[in-house]
Protein backbone atom coordinates (compact mmCIF):
# COMPACT_ATOMS: atom_id res chain seq x y z
CA UNK A 1 0.00 0.00 0.00
CA UNK A 2 1.38 3.31 -1.10
CA UNK A 3 -0.45 6.54 -0.25
CA UNK A 4 -0.90 9.24 -2.84
CA UNK A 5 1.65 11.45 -1.14
CA UNK A 6 3.57 14.21 -2.85
CA UNK A 7 7.30 14.23 -2.16
CA UNK A 8 8.38 17.85 -1.73
CA UNK A 9 12.13 18.41 -1.38
CA UNK A 10 12.80 21.04 1.25
CA UNK A 11 15.62 23.02 2.75
CA UNK A 12 15.03 21.72 6.23
CA UNK A 13 13.74 18.32 7.36
CA UNK A 14 11.46 19.31 10.25
CA UNK A 15 9.54 22.01 8.37
CA UNK A 16 9.60 20.01 5.18
CA UNK A 17 7.89 17.03 6.81
CA UNK A 18 5.21 19.18 8.45
CA UNK A 19 4.60 21.16 5.27
CA UNK A 20 4.08 18.04 3.18
CA UNK A 21 1.96 16.28 5.85
CA UNK A 22 -0.33 19.32 5.97
CA UNK A 23 -0.48 19.42 2.19
CA UNK A 24 -1.69 15.83 2.16
CA UNK A 25 -4.54 16.94 4.40
CA UNK A 26 -5.39 19.85 2.11
CA UNK A 27 -3.58 22.72 3.81
CA UNK A 28 -1.06 24.52 1.63
CA UNK A 29 1.61 26.14 3.75
CA UNK A 30 5.17 26.43 2.54
CA UNK A 31 8.15 25.24 4.49
CA UNK A 32 9.24 28.88 4.83
CA UNK A 33 5.88 29.93 6.26
CA UNK A 34 5.99 27.19 8.90
CA UNK A 35 9.60 28.04 9.69
CA UNK A 36 8.72 31.73 10.22
CA UNK A 37 5.56 31.13 12.22
CA UNK A 38 7.42 28.59 14.36
CA UNK A 39 10.22 31.12 15.01
CA UNK A 40 12.86 28.88 13.50
CA UNK A 41 15.47 31.62 13.10
CA UNK A 42 17.91 31.69 15.98
CA UNK A 43 21.47 31.63 17.13
CA UNK A 44 22.79 29.76 20.14
CA UNK A 45 26.30 28.95 21.25
CA UNK A 46 26.28 26.17 23.83
CA UNK A 47 29.78 25.30 25.01
CA UNK A 48 28.29 22.87 27.54
CA UNK A 49 26.76 20.75 24.74
CA UNK A 50 29.40 18.95 22.72
CA UNK A 51 29.01 17.26 19.36
CA UNK A 52 32.00 15.08 18.45
CA UNK A 53 33.75 16.78 21.37
CA UNK A 54 33.20 20.23 19.85
CA UNK A 55 31.00 22.91 21.48
CA UNK A 56 27.69 23.26 19.70
CA UNK A 57 26.71 26.38 17.78
CA UNK A 58 23.21 26.27 16.37
CA UNK A 59 21.32 28.50 13.97
CA UNK A 60 17.92 27.21 15.08
CA UNK A 61 16.12 26.35 18.32
CA UNK A 62 16.10 22.78 19.70
CA UNK A 63 14.58 20.12 17.43
CA UNK A 64 10.82 19.83 17.58
CA UNK A 65 10.33 23.34 18.87
CA UNK A 66 9.76 25.09 15.54
CA UNK A 67 7.05 22.71 14.66
CA UNK A 68 5.42 22.68 18.13
CA UNK A 69 5.17 26.46 18.06
CA UNK A 70 3.87 26.58 14.50
CA UNK A 71 1.19 23.96 15.24
CA UNK A 72 0.05 25.88 18.31
CA UNK A 73 -0.08 29.22 16.51
CA UNK A 74 -2.03 27.73 13.61
CA UNK A 75 -4.44 25.73 15.79
CA UNK A 76 -3.29 22.41 14.32
CA UNK A 77 -3.48 19.36 16.57
CA UNK A 78 -0.93 16.63 16.15
CA UNK A 79 -0.88 13.16 17.59
CA UNK A 80 2.60 12.41 18.95
CA UNK A 81 3.81 9.09 20.26
CA UNK A 82 7.14 7.76 21.48
CA UNK A 83 8.06 4.24 22.43
CA UNK A 84 10.90 3.98 24.84
CA UNK A 85 12.65 0.62 24.39
CA UNK A 86 9.69 -0.83 22.50
CA UNK A 87 10.82 -1.05 18.87
CA UNK A 88 8.33 -3.74 17.92
CA UNK A 89 5.40 -1.74 19.27
CA UNK A 90 6.70 1.38 17.54
CA UNK A 91 6.72 -0.42 14.19
CA UNK A 92 3.29 -2.03 14.78
CA UNK A 93 1.79 1.32 15.66
CA UNK A 94 3.28 2.88 12.52
CA UNK A 95 1.72 0.12 10.40
CA UNK A 96 -1.66 0.69 12.03
CA UNK A 97 -1.64 4.40 11.26
CA UNK A 98 -0.52 3.75 7.67
CA UNK A 99 -3.46 1.33 7.29
CA UNK A 100 -5.73 4.25 8.16
CA UNK A 101 -4.27 5.93 5.06
CA UNK A 102 -2.36 8.53 7.05
CA UNK A 103 1.24 9.43 6.22
CA UNK A 104 3.35 9.58 9.36
CA UNK A 105 6.18 11.90 10.40
CA UNK A 106 9.11 10.11 12.02
CA UNK A 107 12.07 11.35 14.02
CA UNK A 108 15.18 9.42 13.03
CA UNK A 109 18.90 9.13 13.39
CA UNK A 110 20.94 10.00 10.32
CA UNK A 111 23.64 7.39 10.89
CA UNK A 112 21.40 4.47 9.91
CA UNK A 113 19.80 6.03 6.83
CA UNK A 114 21.25 3.85 4.11
CA UNK A 115 20.02 6.09 1.29
CA UNK A 116 22.01 9.09 2.56
CA UNK A 117 25.33 10.09 1.00
CA UNK A 118 27.95 8.23 3.11
CA UNK A 119 29.69 11.53 3.80
CA UNK A 120 26.61 12.73 5.71
CA UNK A 121 26.14 9.72 7.93
CA UNK A 122 27.03 11.04 11.35
CA UNK A 123 25.37 10.26 14.68
CA UNK A 124 22.78 13.00 14.49
CA UNK A 125 19.38 12.06 15.85
CA UNK A 126 17.08 14.97 15.17
CA UNK A 127 16.33 14.21 11.56
CA UNK A 128 12.75 13.96 10.29
CA UNK A 129 11.14 12.08 7.43
CA UNK A 130 7.71 10.90 6.30
CA UNK A 131 6.63 7.29 5.89
CA UNK A 132 3.86 7.08 3.31
CA UNK A 133 3.33 3.41 2.64
CA UNK A 134 4.46 -0.16 3.07
CA UNK A 135 4.73 -3.18 0.80
CA UNK A 136 5.97 -6.41 2.31
CA UNK A 137 9.16 -5.57 4.13
CA UNK A 138 9.66 -2.20 2.44
CA UNK A 139 8.60 1.21 3.66
CA UNK A 140 8.11 4.15 1.29
CA UNK A 141 10.01 7.15 2.58
CA UNK A 142 9.75 10.80 1.70
CA UNK A 143 12.83 12.46 3.15
CA UNK A 144 12.61 16.19 2.48
CA UNK A 145 16.36 16.68 2.17
CA UNK A 146 16.50 14.06 -0.60
CA UNK A 147 15.71 15.02 -4.16
CA UNK A 148 13.52 11.95 -4.77
CA UNK A 149 11.41 9.64 -2.61
CA UNK A 150 13.19 6.53 -1.36
CA UNK A 151 12.69 3.33 0.65
CA UNK A 152 13.94 1.59 3.77
CA UNK A 153 13.54 -2.01 4.92
CA UNK A 154 11.74 -2.82 8.15
CA UNK A 155 15.05 -3.42 9.94
CA UNK A 156 16.66 -0.25 8.61
CA UNK A 157 13.73 1.92 9.60
CA UNK A 158 13.58 0.32 13.04
CA UNK A 159 17.28 1.01 13.56
CA UNK A 160 16.93 4.64 12.49
CA UNK A 161 13.93 5.15 14.78
CA UNK A 162 15.87 3.72 17.70
CA UNK A 163 19.23 5.36 17.12
CA UNK A 164 21.07 5.91 20.41
CA UNK A 165 22.87 8.88 21.84
CA UNK A 166 21.93 12.55 22.36
CA UNK A 167 18.39 13.45 21.25
CA UNK A 168 17.61 9.78 20.63
CA UNK A 169 14.25 9.55 18.85
CA UNK A 170 12.81 6.64 20.90
CA UNK A 171 10.61 5.77 17.97
CA UNK A 172 8.88 9.16 17.95
CA UNK A 173 6.14 9.49 15.34
CA UNK A 174 3.52 12.16 14.65
CA UNK A 175 0.68 13.08 12.31
CA UNK A 176 -2.01 15.78 12.19
CA UNK A 177 -5.37 14.83 13.67
CA UNK A 178 -7.18 18.13 13.46
CA UNK A 179 -6.68 21.07 11.12
CA UNK A 180 -8.90 24.17 11.36
CA UNK A 181 -11.16 24.86 8.36
CA UNK A 182 -10.08 28.47 8.15
CA UNK A 183 -6.69 29.72 9.21
CA UNK A 184 -5.95 33.38 9.75
CA UNK A 185 -2.23 33.59 9.10
CA UNK A 186 -1.76 37.18 10.28
CA UNK A 187 -1.85 36.68 14.07
CA UNK A 188 0.30 33.54 13.73
CA UNK A 189 2.85 35.42 11.62
CA UNK A 190 2.99 38.29 14.11
CA UNK A 191 3.53 35.95 17.04
CA UNK A 192 6.24 34.12 15.12
CA UNK A 193 8.09 37.29 14.19
CA UNK A 194 7.79 38.77 17.66
CA UNK A 195 9.31 35.74 19.33
CA UNK A 196 12.16 35.54 16.82
CA UNK A 197 12.99 39.22 17.33
CA UNK A 198 12.81 38.87 21.11
CA UNK A 199 14.99 35.77 21.16
CA UNK A 200 17.55 37.36 18.87
CA UNK A 201 17.66 40.66 20.77
CA UNK A 202 16.71 40.30 24.41
CA UNK A 203 17.69 36.98 26.01
CA UNK A 204 19.76 38.13 29.00
CA UNK A 205 22.42 35.44 28.52
CA UNK A 206 25.39 36.28 26.30
CA UNK A 207 25.23 32.92 24.49
CA UNK A 208 21.99 33.51 22.59
CA UNK A 209 20.84 35.73 19.75
CA UNK A 210 23.08 38.48 18.40
CA UNK A 211 24.98 38.52 21.71
CA UNK A 212 25.78 34.86 21.14
CA UNK A 213 27.27 35.61 17.72
CA UNK A 214 29.48 38.30 19.27
CA UNK A 215 30.51 35.97 22.09
CA UNK A 216 31.42 33.19 19.68
CA UNK A 217 33.37 35.68 17.57
CA UNK A 218 35.60 36.33 20.59
CA UNK A 219 36.12 32.59 21.07
CA UNK A 220 36.91 32.00 17.40
CA UNK A 221 39.72 34.56 17.60
CA UNK A 222 41.30 32.57 20.43
CA UNK A 223 40.91 29.12 18.91
CA UNK A 224 44.27 28.84 17.08
CA UNK A 225 46.12 29.89 20.21
CA UNK A 226 44.09 27.96 22.76
CA UNK A 227 43.47 24.77 20.83
CA UNK A 228 46.35 24.48 18.39
CA UNK A 229 46.07 24.46 14.60
CA UNK A 230 44.58 21.02 14.16
CA UNK A 231 41.75 21.29 16.67
CA UNK A 232 40.97 24.90 15.80
CA UNK A 233 40.36 23.81 12.22
CA UNK A 234 38.00 21.05 13.40
CA UNK A 235 36.05 23.57 15.50
CA UNK A 236 35.72 26.06 12.66
CA UNK A 237 34.79 23.30 10.22
CA UNK A 238 31.96 22.18 12.48
CA UNK A 239 30.64 25.74 12.64
CA UNK A 240 30.47 25.86 8.85
CA UNK A 241 28.75 22.48 8.81
CA UNK A 242 26.08 23.79 11.18
CA UNK A 243 25.50 26.65 8.74
CA UNK A 244 25.37 24.62 5.58
CA UNK A 245 25.14 20.86 6.01
CA UNK A 246 22.02 18.69 5.72
CA UNK A 247 19.14 21.02 5.30
CA UNK A 248 19.45 24.66 6.19
CA UNK A 249 18.41 25.98 2.78
CA UNK A 250 21.77 27.75 2.82
CA UNK A 251 23.41 30.19 5.25
CA UNK A 252 22.03 28.72 8.47
CA UNK A 253 18.34 29.15 7.56
CA UNK A 254 18.79 32.86 6.78
CA UNK A 255 17.61 32.41 3.17
CA UNK A 256 14.53 30.45 4.28
CA UNK A 257 13.66 33.35 6.56
CA UNK A 258 14.05 35.80 3.69
CA UNK A 259 11.65 33.62 1.66
CA UNK A 260 9.23 33.69 4.61
CA UNK A 261 9.31 37.50 4.67
CA UNK A 262 8.37 37.64 0.99
CA UNK A 263 5.33 35.52 1.72
CA UNK A 264 4.52 37.76 4.69
CA UNK A 265 4.60 40.81 2.39
CA UNK A 266 1.85 39.19 0.32
CA UNK A 267 -0.28 38.05 3.27
CA UNK A 268 0.00 41.42 5.02
CA UNK A 269 -0.17 43.37 1.74
CA UNK A 270 2.76 45.38 3.02
CA UNK A 271 5.78 46.01 0.78
CA UNK A 272 7.99 46.85 3.74
CA UNK A 273 8.37 43.12 4.48
CA UNK A 274 9.59 42.63 0.93
CA UNK A 275 12.25 45.30 1.49
CA UNK A 276 13.30 43.59 4.73
CA UNK A 277 13.51 40.30 2.88
CA UNK A 278 16.15 41.89 0.65
CA UNK A 279 18.13 42.89 3.73
CA UNK A 280 17.86 39.35 5.08
CA UNK A 281 19.19 38.02 1.78
CA UNK A 282 22.23 40.27 2.22
CA UNK A 283 22.73 38.87 5.74
CA UNK A 284 22.52 35.36 4.28
CA UNK A 285 25.06 36.29 1.63
CA UNK A 286 27.41 37.46 4.38
CA UNK A 287 27.07 34.13 6.18
CA UNK A 288 27.87 32.38 2.89
CA UNK A 289 30.94 34.54 2.60
CA UNK A 290 31.80 33.58 6.17
CA UNK A 291 31.53 29.86 5.28
CA UNK A 292 33.67 30.33 2.22
CA UNK A 293 36.44 32.17 4.08
CA UNK A 294 36.22 29.83 7.07
CA UNK A 295 36.58 26.76 4.85
CA UNK A 296 39.68 28.27 3.25
CA UNK A 297 41.06 28.90 6.74
CA UNK A 298 40.41 25.32 7.88
CA UNK A 299 41.85 23.81 4.74
CA UNK A 300 45.34 22.60 5.41
CA UNK A 301 44.80 23.38 9.10
CA UNK A 302 47.11 26.36 9.14
CA UNK A 303 47.77 27.96 12.51
CA UNK A 304 47.89 31.44 11.00
CA UNK A 305 45.64 33.57 13.26
CA UNK A 306 44.82 35.98 10.41
CA UNK A 307 42.20 33.68 8.92
CA UNK A 308 40.49 33.29 12.29
CA UNK A 309 40.57 37.04 12.91
CA UNK A 310 39.05 37.71 9.50
CA UNK A 311 36.07 35.41 10.07
CA UNK A 312 35.68 36.65 13.66
CA UNK A 313 35.45 40.22 12.35
CA UNK A 314 32.90 39.14 9.80
CA UNK A 315 30.80 37.59 12.59
CA UNK A 316 30.78 40.93 14.44
CA UNK A 317 29.65 42.65 11.26
CA UNK A 318 26.85 40.09 10.79
CA UNK A 319 25.78 40.41 14.45
CA UNK A 320 25.38 44.17 13.94
CA UNK A 321 23.35 43.58 10.77
CA UNK A 322 21.09 41.02 12.46
CA UNK A 323 20.56 43.35 15.41
CA UNK A 324 19.55 46.27 13.19
CA UNK A 325 17.40 43.96 11.13
CA UNK A 326 15.33 42.64 14.02
CA UNK A 327 14.90 46.07 15.60
CA UNK A 328 13.45 47.22 12.29
CA UNK A 329 11.31 44.11 11.85
CA UNK A 330 9.93 44.44 15.36
CA UNK A 331 8.79 47.99 14.59
CA UNK A 332 6.62 46.67 11.77
CA UNK A 333 4.60 44.40 14.04
CA UNK A 334 4.20 46.66 17.07
Amino acid sequence: MKLDFEHIPAGHCENGVISSLLKYHGLNLSEAMIFGIGSGYFFAYMPFVKVNGIPLASFRPVPGMIFARAAKRLGIKMKKQSFRKQPKRAMDELDKVLERKLPVGIQSGVYHLTYFPPAYRFHFNAHNLTVYGKEGNTYFISDPVMEYPTTLTYEELKKARFAKGPLSPNGKMYYPISIPEEIDLKPAIIKGIKQTADWMLTIPVPLFGVKGIRYLSKRVRKWPNNLGARKAASYLAQLVRMLEEIGTGGAGFRFIYAAFLQEVAEVMKDERYFELSKKMTKIGDKWRNFSSLAAQTCKGRSSDPDGYNTVANLMLDIADDEEKFFIELKKLIS
Binding site: G11, S234, E244, F255, A258, R301
Partner: protein
Amino acid sequence: MEKDKVPQDEGITAGITREVQYAVDENGKYVKTFSKGWEPKNIVNELAWEDIQEMVDLADKKISAGKASPIMHFMAKNQMDVTLLADYVELSKWKVKRHLKPRGFKKLKQDQLENYAKVFNISVDELVNFKPENKK
Protein backbone atom coordinates in the same frame (compact mmCIF):
# COMPACT_ATOMS: atom_id res chain seq x y z
CA MET B 1 21.82 34.75 -3.28
CA GLU B 2 20.71 34.85 -6.92
CA LYS B 3 19.48 31.70 -8.59
CA ASP B 4 22.17 31.74 -11.27
CA LYS B 5 24.88 32.00 -8.59
CA VAL B 6 23.81 28.86 -6.72
CA PRO B 7 26.98 26.78 -6.71
CA GLN B 8 27.03 23.46 -8.55
CA ASP B 9 30.31 21.99 -7.32
CA GLU B 10 30.23 18.20 -7.44
CA GLY B 11 31.23 16.62 -4.18
CA ILE B 12 29.87 14.73 -1.20
CA THR B 13 26.35 14.21 -2.57
CA ALA B 14 27.44 13.37 -6.13
CA GLY B 15 25.39 10.67 -7.80
CA ILE B 16 23.03 10.39 -4.82
CA THR B 17 21.09 13.60 -4.42
CA ARG B 18 21.03 17.38 -4.83
CA GLU B 19 20.21 19.74 -2.00
CA VAL B 20 17.56 22.41 -1.89
CA GLN B 21 18.95 25.91 -1.89
CA TYR B 22 16.78 28.99 -1.49
CA ALA B 23 17.66 31.74 -3.97
CA VAL B 24 16.04 34.70 -5.70
CA ASP B 25 15.04 34.53 -9.36
CA GLU B 26 15.37 37.30 -11.98
CA ASN B 27 12.27 39.05 -10.53
CA GLY B 28 13.70 39.07 -7.02
CA LYS B 29 11.29 36.33 -5.88
CA TYR B 30 12.47 33.45 -3.70
CA VAL B 31 12.41 30.02 -5.27
CA LYS B 32 13.69 26.62 -4.24
CA THR B 33 16.52 25.50 -6.48
CA PHE B 34 18.80 22.49 -6.42
CA SER B 35 22.51 22.62 -5.73
CA LYS B 36 24.90 19.80 -6.60
CA GLY B 37 27.18 21.00 -3.84
CA TRP B 38 29.56 23.72 -2.77
CA GLU B 39 33.33 23.49 -2.43
CA PRO B 40 33.48 24.98 1.12
CA LYS B 41 31.05 22.27 2.24
CA ASN B 42 33.25 19.59 0.68
CA ILE B 43 36.23 20.99 2.56
CA VAL B 44 34.62 21.07 6.02
CA ASN B 45 32.99 17.67 5.57
CA GLU B 46 36.36 16.21 4.62
CA LEU B 47 37.89 17.68 7.77
CA ALA B 48 35.25 15.98 9.91
CA TRP B 49 36.11 12.64 8.29
CA GLU B 50 39.82 13.28 8.82
CA ASP B 51 39.05 13.58 12.54
CA ILE B 52 37.25 10.24 12.49
CA GLN B 53 40.14 8.61 10.61
CA GLU B 54 42.54 10.02 13.18
CA MET B 55 40.61 8.22 15.93
CA VAL B 56 40.72 4.98 13.92
CA ASP B 57 44.49 5.30 13.42
CA LEU B 58 44.96 5.97 17.11
CA ALA B 59 42.91 2.88 17.97
CA ASP B 60 44.92 0.75 15.53
CA LYS B 61 48.16 1.89 17.08
CA LYS B 62 46.94 0.86 20.52
CA ILE B 63 45.75 -2.50 19.20
CA SER B 64 49.11 -3.17 17.50
CA ALA B 65 50.87 -2.31 20.76
CA GLY B 66 48.66 -4.81 22.57
CA LYS B 67 47.01 -2.10 24.61
CA ALA B 68 43.51 -2.30 23.17
CA SER B 69 41.07 -4.85 21.79
CA PRO B 70 39.61 -4.84 18.25
CA ILE B 71 36.47 -3.25 19.67
CA MET B 72 38.35 0.04 19.84
CA HIS B 73 38.92 0.00 16.08
CA PHE B 74 35.27 -0.59 15.25
CA MET B 75 34.10 1.85 17.89
CA ALA B 76 36.19 4.59 16.26
CA LYS B 77 35.18 3.53 12.76
CA ASN B 78 31.52 3.80 13.75
CA GLN B 79 32.17 7.30 15.15
CA MET B 80 31.35 6.14 18.66
CA ASP B 81 32.74 6.97 22.05
CA VAL B 82 32.39 4.72 25.10
CA THR B 83 29.12 6.37 26.12
CA LEU B 84 27.45 5.84 22.75
CA LEU B 85 28.78 2.31 22.32
CA ALA B 86 27.59 1.38 25.82
CA ASP B 87 24.18 2.72 24.86
CA TYR B 88 24.07 0.58 21.73
CA VAL B 89 25.28 -2.68 23.29
CA GLU B 90 23.14 -1.99 26.36
CA LEU B 91 25.94 -2.46 28.83
CA SER B 92 27.37 -0.18 31.49
CA LYS B 93 30.26 2.05 30.49
CA TRP B 94 32.71 0.35 32.86
CA LYS B 95 31.97 -3.01 31.26
CA VAL B 96 32.58 -1.61 27.78
CA LYS B 97 35.82 -0.06 29.01
CA ARG B 98 36.90 -3.48 30.24
CA HIS B 99 36.09 -5.04 26.85
CA LEU B 100 38.25 -2.41 25.19
CA LYS B 101 41.27 -3.99 26.89
CA PRO B 102 42.72 -7.17 25.35
CA ARG B 103 42.28 -9.08 28.62
CA GLY B 104 38.61 -8.19 28.99
CA PHE B 105 38.04 -8.93 25.32
CA LYS B 106 39.43 -12.46 25.57
CA LYS B 107 36.91 -13.31 28.26
CA LEU B 108 33.93 -12.35 26.13
CA LYS B 109 31.45 -15.15 25.49
CA GLN B 110 29.99 -15.90 22.06
CA ASP B 111 26.70 -14.09 22.69
CA GLN B 112 28.52 -11.01 23.95
CA LEU B 113 30.73 -11.01 20.86
CA GLU B 114 27.61 -11.33 18.71
CA ASN B 115 26.12 -8.36 20.50
CA TYR B 116 29.11 -6.17 19.59
CA ALA B 117 29.37 -7.54 16.06
CA LYS B 118 25.70 -6.80 15.42
CA VAL B 119 26.08 -3.18 16.52
CA PHE B 120 29.12 -2.79 14.26
CA ASN B 121 27.33 -4.55 11.40
CA ILE B 122 30.09 -7.15 11.00
CA SER B 123 30.50 -10.87 11.71
CA VAL B 124 31.98 -12.23 14.93
CA ASP B 125 34.89 -13.57 12.83
CA GLU B 126 35.68 -10.12 11.51
CA LEU B 127 35.65 -8.74 15.04
CA VAL B 128 37.76 -11.43 16.67
CA ASN B 129 40.30 -11.76 13.86
CA PHE B 130 40.74 -8.05 13.24
CA LYS B 131 44.35 -7.00 12.63
CA PRO B 132 45.28 -3.37 12.10
CA GLU B 133 46.86 -2.65 8.74
CA ASN B 134 50.47 -1.70 9.02
CA LYS B 135 50.83 1.89 8.00
CA LYS B 136 54.24 3.07 7.04
